[in-house]
Every structure is written in structure tokens, then in C-alpha cells.
Symmetry: C3
Subunit: 288 residues, 3 copies
């Protein structure tokens, strides 16, 4: 029986990126839909769950993508709410790569430095990747600063995380300059800001002697942490292990492919932020 992946994309052109990865992950057939809104979901999901017998439903799965993580989350909620009883299929959400990127970044940080009780900072923490990175760091026991230019938006992001992780040690910081001071006590820093924003200028790392892991997720110059190269992959700079966007990208791609493949292991897999992170940890640890 062929493995069918139904791609629900919130953008008008369903992502080529997600399609190529789906094929390379082992999907035999891709049904790709663009401009998908929650209103379309019921009909599409019914087509997925009413066509094959319960024992065969593990060969059908749903992938949710698009450039907006909020739109993707809304689809995920609607999709899972349409299932009932054994009539369900596995589903993954990774709009704009937010889950696989955040998972890969935190899994790499954890592999190179214990996160338990450690102070960690996420610069640009209110975007889809930054918010998820902060959540995963908190989940690993780190004491997390979530930084945004707007203190208000930073606090809103923290509130969202606390709803899922009530015990998170999480602090919102509003800052638009002097990020060196913000990061002064941190052992781990992840930069997940928008393109074009440089948080730490050249030579900043040398002024942060406590910093053990620094990760910059921006692939387009100017990068967010000027001392880091886009291709840095566990590059030691002073006392700091550094990763650039391409250095994280290898693991991210493995996680993305593996997460899609796992959808077909059963008919009730939910590949959300936490499940994708578990995979990222396993893959990162297996490499070492």
C-alpha cells in the first residue's frame, strides 16, 4: 500500500522545500494543497480518514506548512479536532521550518553543554523559531531570557509558553541595544531574529567569557552574531562552541526527513514541537 502524504500549505504555492523533503523521506504520493484555511480542513481530513480501513490508515498522513506559523497552528488544531476514535491519521506541523529548526538548534546546544539550571538567552524570541527555541530550552531546565525589542511582545511569548510549561523558568526582556549586557550571564545564546538584525557585533564573543554555546540561525548576512560564520558547525571560538545557520541546517534536514518518515509508523503520531524535539535529541546524540 502506497504511503500518501497530504500537504496542507497556508501559502498559495505549496512549498517546494517541504515537497522535496517529503519525497526523500519516503512518501510515495504527495497530495499538495495551497491557500488552505481552517474552513477547508473538514472535507480534506474526511477524505483522508474515510478511504482506507483502520489497519491501513498509517499509510496516509498530513503535513502542515506555509510561511505563517500561526496559520499552521490553526490548521493543526482544526485537523486534530476533525479526527474521531480510531479514524485518524498522523500529522506534522512545521510551518516555515519553525519546529525542525528550533529543535535542531536546542538539540545541538544540549549536546555541547548541559542545559539544566543554566542561564540561556534567545535573541529575537517572539518569532516562530525563537519562541519554540525558548520553550525547548525551558523544557530542558534552563533559566531562559526571551528577548525582543518590545517588552510587551516578549512577555506575551513567555505567557504562551507558560500555558504549556507552567514550571518554565522564563523571563521576558525588552531590549533594542546593548545585547552584550543582556547576554552577560548566559552560557547559551541563540539568535533567531529577523534577517538584517545584528545583535552582537564583531568581537562581542570575547567580551562574554561565560558563553559556552552560541547559535545564529540567520543564513543571510548580516548575521545576528557577527563573530559566527554561516557554516560554523561546532566551531570553537575562544571558549565558545559556535553554530551558524548552515551548521544547524544539516541536523534540521535530518530531523525533518525523519519526522515525516515517522508519520507512517502508526496512524496517531502527532509531530508537534515536543515530538520533533525528541527526534532531534535522538539524532544529535546518535551522531556523537
Amino acid at each position: 500500500m502506497q504511503k500518501i502524504l497530504i500537504q496542507l500549505d497556508t501559502d498559495s504555492n505549496p512549498s517546494v522545500f517541504d515537497r522535496v523533503v517529503a519525497i526523500d523521506a519516503g512518501a510515495d504520493q504527495l497530495f499538495s494543497y495551497g491557500s488552505i484555511a481552517p474552513d477547508h480542513v473538514t472535507e480534506l481530513v474526511h477524505g483522508a480518514i474515510f478511504t482506507r480501513g483502520p489497519a491501513d490508515l498509517k499509510n496516509t498522513a498530513i503535513f502542515i506548512g506555509g510561511s505563517s506559523a500561526a496559520a499552521g497552528e490553526a490548521l493543526l488544531k482544526k485537523v486534530t479536532g476533525t479526527f474521531f476514535g480510531p479514524l485518524r491519521v498522523s500529522v506534522m506541523m512545521d510551518s516555515n521550518g519553525c519546529n525542525t529548526t528550533a529543535a535542531a538548534a536546542v538539540a545541538l546546544a544540549r549536546r555541547h553543554h548541559s542545559l539544566q539550571g543554566v542561564q540561556a538567552t534567545v535573541l529575537g524570541g517572539t518569532g516562530p523559531v525563537g519562541l519554540r527555541a525558548a520553550e525547548l530550552l525551558a523544557c530542558e531546565g534552563a533559566i531562559v531570557q526571551l528577548v525582543s525589542r518590545s517588552k510587551e511582545r516578549a512577555e506575551a511569548a513567555c505567557s504562551e509558553i507558560r500555558q504549556r510549561l507552567p514550571d518554565a523558568q522564563l523571563h521576558s526582556v525588552g531590549a533594542s541595544a546593548d545585547f552584550n549586557s543582556v547576554c552577560a550571564e548566559s552560557e547559551v545564546v541563540i539568535a533567531a531574529g529577523a534577517a538584517g538584525i545584528c545583535f552582537l557585533p564583531e568581537a562581542a564573543l570575547a567580551a562574554l567569557p561565560g558563553l559556552r554555546v552560541a547559535i545564529d540561525l540567520n543564513a543571510v548576512p548580516p548575521v545576528g552574531l557577527a563573530d559566527i560564520g554561516v557554516s560554523d558547525k561546532a566551531q570553537i571560538r575562544g571558549e565558545t562552541t559556535c553554530f551558524g545557520a548552515l551548521g544547524v541546517g544539516g541536523l534540521k534536514m535530518k530531523v525533518h526527513r525523519r519526522a515525516v518518515a515517522e508519520l507512517f509508523a502508526a496512524n496517531d503520531v502527532i509531530m508537534d514541537t515536543m515530538a520533533i524535539y525528541q527526534l532531534a535529541r535522538e539524532i544529535a546524540d546518535a551522531v556523537s
Copy 2:
């Protein structure tokens, strides 16, 4: 040579249901198009008939679907009108499952009770499934009552059927209550009304001693015949053999898959109401 099925769907999102069934029926490649209107057909059909040699054209076929049977019929007419000489491919029309559902229902009725000369009633007979069920019953020699709330619409549906089956013994009935009286003389009753309409309340079957086969095609409660369970599959209740929507669904799915598979047997198969019904009869009879 790969088997290509071109899915022309009149809705904006081409049906996932039809796509999964197509793959399970053996199509190797699906070309799916949404929002298709008759104006688009010429270009699409030319692409189908001008690309492979006549001997290979049986490996290309067209499936017409969508939520509107009328829109689907219009496409079917345009598609078959675009063929010329040996330059044609097989085509199936099953918008909203109208043909496969009606065919499965009538084939099951026939398997459990002779239809020749028998009085049969279709409740909700003006919708796509009801109209086709009435036509197939008449084709088998039954004396058919086609029932609708509007006598006018019931008569229009009968006229449409008589254009294809001039000898049909077919009567239109306008009724919005007291369906027990309407069905009093019938040995076969098929309920094909819209969701939420209950024609025969609980215990009605016991008051219809002549009824031998009762089929309810509504899967969502309240069902159309309250005595019938959604999963009834040749369930004997009193003197009546009963089928619910899921009880018909198994055969419907087999018919749908087999009909798609048959498209690739030659390049001139037309899977319309009658051809799909022939398949349903063969499959229903093979099971017994």
C-alpha cells in the same frame, strides 16, 4: 508505461477522497485540477489525447468529481465531446460519489430481493444519489415512486430519467409528511434525502409488513429511516433486510476502486451511471 489519471474536480480543492481511492485502484500518477469548468476542458483533454500513441492511450484516463453532480455531468459531456476518432481516453464521472453510491445501494437491493415488477420507493429522489437510484431501480424493472417534498421537482427528476429510459415505470410523488402511507405498497425503500431529514420514525418498519429491503444512505444522525442502524449490513429486522450508510459503504468503495481500475483496460471506457452499476452488480453477486 505509467498509468496516469487526470482528476478534473469542480471544487477548488480536488477531492482527497477521490485521490486516495485512485491511488489504491492502481493509478501510478495523478494529475489533479480544481475549480474546473467546461471552458478548461478542451486544453486539458488535448493534453491527454495528443501525447501518447493510440496503442498507449489506455494508460491515460480522466476522472470527474466534485460536490456538484450537475457540474460533473457538464464536464463529462464536454470531455466526451472533445474526443475524436481513436483519439480518446477512458473517463469516469462520480461527483460526490453519486454513481458509486446509487449503484451499490441498488445492487444490494437486487441481491436480496428481485426488483422486476416490484414496487420501489426512493425517498429524497431528486438529489444526485436518489435520482440515480430511481433510474437504476426502473432499469431493473421495478415500478418506482420518486418522492420529494416538491411534486414539481419530483416530476422534473422523472422526466430527466425518462429521457434516458423511455419505458421506465416511474411515478413522481410530492410529500412532506406521512411517508408511511407513501411506502405502504413498496417492497423496496431507499432513503437518499439530505442530512437531518427523518422520513420514517422509529417502529415504522413494523407498520410496513410488505417491505423486504430498506436502505438508508444517510450516515449522520438523525438518519432517514430511524429503525436502521448506520452499520446495518443485510441486518434482518422483522421481515425487512436493512442496510445503513456504512453497510452500503463497503460495496461502494469496492465499486469505486474497481471502476477506476477498469478505466485502464482500454482507451474508450465510459464509466457513467449504467457502467458503474454493471460493475456493482458483478461485485455484489460475486460476493454471494
Copy 3:
């Protein structure tokens, strides 16, 4: 690793014709997009080049099609401009079949008559096929008349060709009647006008004693050269070897399929007018 062809079509329904040929040419997966404009290209191309490693990129390729050759050329320019360094995939442009048709026509003309220094005329030379046929004839050393009803448009087409082939021996002719006189000195004539335009009426060939090869690319009657049958394939009529649209079509289809297959030989193949013509020559010569 599966061969993925990304079809970027400028029309709303991605061409069925191009999809069938792509599958028959060996593509394993087709990602088909309609209504594509240059603005969409960056995102789509990034998805193609950032998903597989450099060594595997030859298994991903792009096909540009649609009914407008100008729109297709604009996409081709944007697509190739988005590549950088080794991050590129092969790409073919054949909007409305313009490149494969012109290439097949000129390759057949060349196979039956030397083109070097020979006078050749393209009737209807400003359309996508005619312009490319004139360019390829000039490239083979013919002295080409490019004929259009509008002298101005004919000259514009010549200018466009001269930008790519500065040494082309190319003359623009404005003519809306008496095409016999226009063709009087020509040994090769290709008719590539719009449907319904007849350039040379019946018995015109007999009045052109120097004509050695005549090709009419119009498949729908009235054809452009009335003496030629749509199915003529190297049909000798008097002193002239004749080809009709279907007679050229066989080679055109072979060239189209082979060009798609060649995309997967490396990750930097550009199947444009000249590259497609080289293939057409090879295939035409291999047959003889």
C-alpha cells in the same frame, strides 16, 4: 533517489501535455504549479536548491511552460538568476512547445537539404515558433527572410534574433498577400502562422520550382501551405519534400521527451532554444 521535475506553468492549469511527456521521459515525481509569475520564482527555486546535497541536485529539475513564450522567457531568466555557485538545478523552457517545435522543423529541413548559404523563408515569423525557426535557420548559415503582415514586427523579431546571433543573415519582410513572389527564390519555406491563415493556395508549389523543402506547422485546416497534408512526412510533391504538422510532431515529441530526460544528467543543464535544437539534430540524424 527519485527524479523530481518542478513544472512552473504561466497558465492557471499546468499543462497536461507537458505533464504526460514529463512522466514518459522518466520523471518520478512532478510538482506542478499554475499561474506562476516571476515574483513566485525565488521561493520555489530555493526549495529546489536547498533541499538536496550538491551531488544529488541533478535529480531535481525545473520545466517552464504555458501558452505565452514571452512569459516563459521571463520565468527562465528569473529562475537562472536565482541560482548561485553550485546551488543550481537543470531547467528547460518550452512554453507552448515553441522550442521543441521549431527545433524539430529546422532539424528536418536540414536533414533533407543543406541550409548553408541557402535562401529560406519563415512565413508567420514573429510568433514564438516562427521566430525560433528563423533563428535556427540563420544559425545553420541560411539567408533568412522573416515574414509578417507587419514589416515593423518582422524587423523587431529580426533585431531580437540579431542580439543573440550578430552575424545572422536575416531580412525582415512585411507582406499580407502574394506570398508566392515572396518565396520565389527560397529553397526552404516554413509556415508558422496563426491558425486560419493560408499563405500559399493550392497548386502554389508547382509555381515555385526552386523550392526543395516546405514545412507547414499548422495542424488545423485551413493549413498555411494548401498543397501540404497535415500528415505529410517527407512526402515528395514535385521537386519539394513536404512536412505537415503531424509529420513534424513525431520528431517534436521525441525531442521533448529526450530534452526532459537530459535535465537529469547533471544539475546545470539549460535546455533553451539552442540546446534543444542540438538534440533535435542528433535525433533526426540518428534516424536517417
